[in-house]
């Protein structure tokens, strides 16, 4: 059991135990607790008015999608940092300079997003404009 997978055996056992605990307590509770549903009880929560779903079901601010996309970019960047951080004493000055160049390139994208309003959440002040609009303006201005 001293292999790669042997290392994860205790984790698998813990996962099993936690799953057993969760499912067991859910099942035991389901057997023991009362169940007296009424239409009002089963209605979605709302404070004093008839519950209405958000427009067209599951739609929400586009900013959340923007955050998700930015997250992918920066999280991948950080994942690149992990192997570098582990090995960087051996890589020495070369590794440091190379990572500085990489981070500088990402920083350009970061500044671009920031200037384009991609990081602004507030509805107050200047409305965040699409980054490409901003870019078009810059190009037009020469």
């Amino acid at each position: 059991m001293r292999g790669m997978l042997g290392e994860y055996l205790p984790i698998a056992l813990l996962a099993g135990l936690a799953l057993l605990f969760a499912v067991g307590s859910l099942a035991a509770s389901a057997l023991l607790r009362p169940s007296r549903p009424t239409p009002a009880k089963l209605a979605p929560y709302e404070c004093g008015i008839e519950p209405v779903r958000l427009p067209a079901g599951e739609r929400f601010s586009v900013r959340f999608y923007l955050v998700a996309m930015l997250f992918i970019i920066f999280d991948v960047e950080v994942i690149f940092l992990f192997p570098w951080a582990v090995a960087f004493r051996e890589l020495g000055l070369f590794g440091l300079v190379e990572m500085a160049v990489f981070l500088a390139l990402v920083l350009v994208a970061y500044v671009y997003v920031w200037r384009g309003g991609g990081l602004d959440w507030s509805a107050e002040g200047p409305r965040p404009r699409a980054t490409h609009e901003r870019a078009r303006e810059v190009v037009r201005a020469g």
Partner: protein, 372 residues
């Protein structure tokens, strides 16, 4: 592996699991007591001496409460979401070294469930998986407030995860390993909190946001979102969310202790050599959690746009600069020798101070002032 090995392994897993449950139980009691004290109240007093069994009483109450599935809910996802939220919290703790080891029946039993070579990455991965439970819970409830709470929560958690990862990278550069036991080993001389203090602060702040704790408890902001993603959950299902959240708090505090505060290290007398590291670890975790409770009692909840702005515009650039600075501090003395690097740093620092003093003097005075 013979029978004894299996028995010890199973015993270890069971002890860690039960230990986490008891820790969470006491932690919730402690939090309520400390907050009550800070607000000059008594806090829970009835169940057990000084109310220590209050969490158990709450758990039993929730266990016998009716479990409501809203009419509009996506039933299978709604039922499975609490389990998905709870599991990763326990799994993340599995790689934390909470002591040295003890010899039982002639076998060495380490105080750490597993020590994989990807240690920290495992913790980060499990922390990210926890988001699924929240998103699925909010989405499947078929209700407005949980949905809004869930998208907010996911945006918050993924935003602060970047800052947190950057803080961890800076620590890795010192230890040169992802394995948590080796990171503790590397802190034999000096705890990482001293050379890596900025990373420690970034980690603590991001940890608050990752666990949805005040002042970053926007996903459950009761003044606007009722109870956020778990609005429609009741009874034992709600209890599972609550449990997962507090196990997460314990894990975040344990990672802070392991990476920055020297793990289980501390001065110890020669009697019972295995017990002291365990106590040191518990004491340090308690100290970090106490800090989190203190923050909760002190700071008001911050607005969502400011939360996102702080994560993206402050923590991330700060983390990036700190990673590069750490790299320079570690590598440059090896290449050029210590003296020239210190001299160079002094020159750069002096230039910065000079520039910050000189810049306001050189700036042309505003017209209104000139005319006066």
């Amino acid at each position: 592996m013979d029978l004894l090995d299996w028995a010890l392994l199973l015993g270890r897993v069971a002890v860690v699991f039960a230990g986490l449950l008891v820790t969470v139980m006491l932690l919730i009691w402690m939090e309520r007591k400390v907050i009550a004290d800070m607000q000059t109240r008594m806090g829970p007093m009835r169940a057990g001496p000084r109310g220590v069994l209050i969490t158990l009483a709450d758990g039993i109450k929730l266990f016998f409460k009716e479990g409501i599935v809203p009419a509009e809910a996506d039933r299978p996802v709604y039922l499975i979401a609490p389990v998905i939220a709870m599991l990763p919290a326990f799994l993340a703790f599995a790689v934390i070294p909470f002591g040295t080891s003890v010899t039982l029946f002639g076998r060495e039993v380490p105080f750490q469930l597993a020590d994989p070579s990807i240690g920290i990455l495992w913790v980060l991965a499990m922390a990210s998986l926890g988001v699924y439970g929240i998103v699925l819970a909010g989405w499947s409830s078929g209700s407005n407030y949980p949905l809004l709470g869930a998208v907010r929560s996911s945006a918050q958690i993924i935003s602060y995860e970047i800052g947190m990862s950057l803080a961890l990278v800076a620590v890795l550069m010192y230890s040169g390993s992802l394995r948590l036991s080796e990171i503790v080993e590397a802190q034999a001389r000096v705890w990482n909190v001293i050379p890596q203090f900025p990373a420690f602060v970034v980690y603590l702040i991001a940890g608050l946001a990752e666990t949805n704790r005040p002042p970053f408890d926007l996903p459950e902001a009761e003044s606007e979102l009722v109870a956020g993603f778990h609005t429609e959950y009741s009874g034992i299902r709600f209890a599972l969310f609550y449990l997962g959240e507090y196990v997460n708090t314990v894990t975040v505090a344990s990672v802070a202790v392991t990476l920055f505060l020297g793990g289980w290290r501390g001065p110890a007398p020669d009697v019972l050599p295995w017990v002291w590291p365990l106590l040191w670890f518990l004491a340090k975790v308690l100290a970090v959690v106490y800090g989190y409770v203190w923050v909760r009692a002190t700071l008001p909840r911050i607005r969502f746009d400011r939360l996102m702005a702080f994560g993206w515009k402050v923590l991330i650039p700060f983390g990036l600069v700190w990673v590069l600075l750490t790299g320079a501090i570690v590598v440059l003395p090896d290449v050029y020798g210590r003296g020239p690097v210190v001299a160079g740093a002094a020159v750069v620092f002096g230039a910065l101070v000079l520039a910050s003093v000189a810049a306001p003097l050189l700036r042309p005075r505003p017209a209104a002032e000139v005319g006066r």
